[in-house]
């Protein structure tokens, strides 16, 4: 098994006719993903290398039974596109788009949560891959290997780095997920590791975090209480200069949290193995699952 996507997922691509959308959708398709449709208002009836285009998500879903939306539309249209996908019946929406205003993200999140049961991954994320089954997003599948480790990360390139370290040691992955680093991400670390814990084919979890925000601290608390599988973690930004604080308001909200030191401490005390460099992720996981 894997989480969120597998060989049965049926993907509709929003913005399939755009340069990036087309490039990655075709790569995903070539990997074996069921890319069943694309949308682009005004271009319904056309096709991109055999993938039919529809004017709306609703049409695409009723014609093709698509259940996962992959979004590449520009930032100014992203909120509407994600909501259209959710209300059109897609259960998972993967939003790659970078540069969406925070207010749009917050509003989109609030509406999704109150009015739908769709899950949103991203925005500003690399997507996810269940190796050997489906790739929905922009991750390079060449570095992955089918197996039993779940990978979740806030950063794109560090996700690749972590996956690469696992594959080098012949440790395969069940699903690799980039949740994105924007102010209001859809799925959080907790949402993803909860699914990894329940997944019978995931034996261990790699969690890659970075400085800023409190998502890692919250995940640490969750891991302590709810996760029985081994967790290997890496936090980037130990030596990074302190970022700007959002006035006094920001300082009050984040308190003493957000630094790499606090994140590492809390993850360690939650029972996770926290490594010092990404290169050590592979060995640490090898040890964790053999023990």
């Amino acid at each position: 098994m894997s989480i969120l996507i597998d060989e049965n997922s049926r993907v509709v691509v929003q913005g399939l006719t755009g340069r990036e959308g087309q490039f990655h959708a075709l790569r995903n398709k070539a990997y074996g993903t069921n890319v069943v449709a694309g949308t682009r208002p005004g271009k319904g009836g056309e096709n991109v290398e055999g993938i039919p285009i529809f004017d709306t998500i609703k049409d695409a879903v009723s014609e093709t039974n698509a259940d996962v939306a992959l979004t590449f539309v520009p930032p100014s249209f992203a909120k509407e596109a994600v909501l259209e996908a959710a209300f059109g019946g897609c259960k998972l929406i993967v939003c790659i788009t970078e540069g969406i205003p925070a207010k749009d993200e917050a509003e989109m999140y609030d509406i999704l949560k109150k009015e739908t049961d769709s899950l949103l991954l991203g925005p500003n994320c690399p997507g996810l891959i269940s190796p050997g089954k489906a790739n929905v997003g922009i991750m390079p599948h060449e570095i992955t290997l089918p197996g039993n480790i779940g990978v979740v990360s806030r950063s794109g390139t560090l996700t690749y780095q972590a996956v690469h370290e696992l594959t080098k040691l012949n440790i395969g992955q069940s699903t690799c997920i980039g949740i994105g680093g924007d102010p209001v991400p859809g799925m959080s670390f907790i949402d993803v590791i909860e699914k990894f814990e329940k997944d019978d084919d995931t034996n261990g979890i790699v969690m890659i975090g970075e400085i800023g925000g409190t998502a890692e601290e919250e995940a640490a608390e969750y891991i302590k209480k709810n996760i029985s599988k081994p967790v290997v973690s890496y936090i980037a930004g130990v030596t990074a200069p302190p970022g700007k604080k959002m006035g006094h308001a920001g300082a009050i909200v984040s308190g003493n949290k957000g630094t790499a030191k606090v994140k590492i401490q809390e993850l360690t005390s939650a029972g996770a193995t926290v490594v010092k460099t990404p290169t050590e992720i592979g060995e640490a996981m090898k040890e964790a699952i053999s023990g």
């Binding site: 409190t214 930004g237 006094h248 308001a249």
Partner: protein
Amino acid sequence: MDLFEYQGKLLYKEFDIKHPNSKLLKNLIEIQESVELSYPIVVKAQVQVGGRGKAGGIKIANNHEELIKYSDEIMGMDIKGHIVEILLLEEASKILEEYYISFTLDRSEKKYLIMLSSKGGMDIEKVAEDNPDDLIKHHIGASEELTEDIIHEIIGKAKLNQEYTKSITDIIQNLFLMFVKGDCDLVEVNPLAITDAGVMALDSKVALDMNAKYKHSYFEDFEKEIPIPESEKNAKEKGLNFIKLDGSVGIIGNGAGLVMSTLDVVAENGGNAANFLDIGGGAKAETVSAALEVLEADKNVKSVLINIFGGITRCDLVAEGIVEATKGKDLVWPIVIRLDGTNSSEGLEILKNNPNEKIFIEESMDSAARLAVERGA
């Protein structure tokens, strides 16, 4: 992007938020004869750093003579490394009560957060720590409305003067509108004051969400008025995400997470990074040569580490950029390169075919960092 106080107040005007009458001063000649404001006038240094009051950057002038004197003193002043080039002259109001209010996004709740306190005009972080009950926090979902009822409720909880409930409610509504419709990351007013001239926002601390630049034409105007550190100007013009640091190992990488991690690994190996430079996703050859040019300008750099993990970024294009920027050149410092991911074997081939005695290739991020630290020692 953090705004100057006067820029925040231009937004107040736009959103009908009452604030003192004022004049912006860039040249002292403008007030030589007279000024169209009534005394007393507060002279405020416009700098993007806290503690200007203590540093002598705020003074109250009671007449024209004092206005000239104080303006002259404050203009050009160095406040924690920031030179004062702009003054804000404001009519001083008689303050009866001082409150604190802020609007921001609480990332862990994924909701907007309004904080209100009757203890304004002082260090609000200290209030939050010593008397947390004096700081009222209210979360609101981004698709919800901030109704009068909610505002009345928080005004009551914060124990603000009930006599002014109507004007405080109005100003809170407009500040919230400015926060949401104006795409601000932060709107913080300390103090929000009851004065003899009514309820007013006396200060402004505003940060804009630059992702929303396409929605508002004035974002760009504000941006032009904000000075960029000399060391980062060149990089900014080239569209690179660059931050100057104190060490000697120049860093180029793709993706903020990987670059941050590269700084850490350099430190693990006993070195110190000279900068943070993210060439982003999908970087082309030109981007890489531009990045190398930016590092050339930094005299502290002793060695360079290029750490690339190709996803959308293609390693062969990065390699072409490196060759283009270094071919036939007598390099000032050694460059250690690590390429992995999309098209890495093609990239390594390109580098091998264009050897340079100061370019070294390493297989892992750790060994590359180690060598870069060694070579720069």
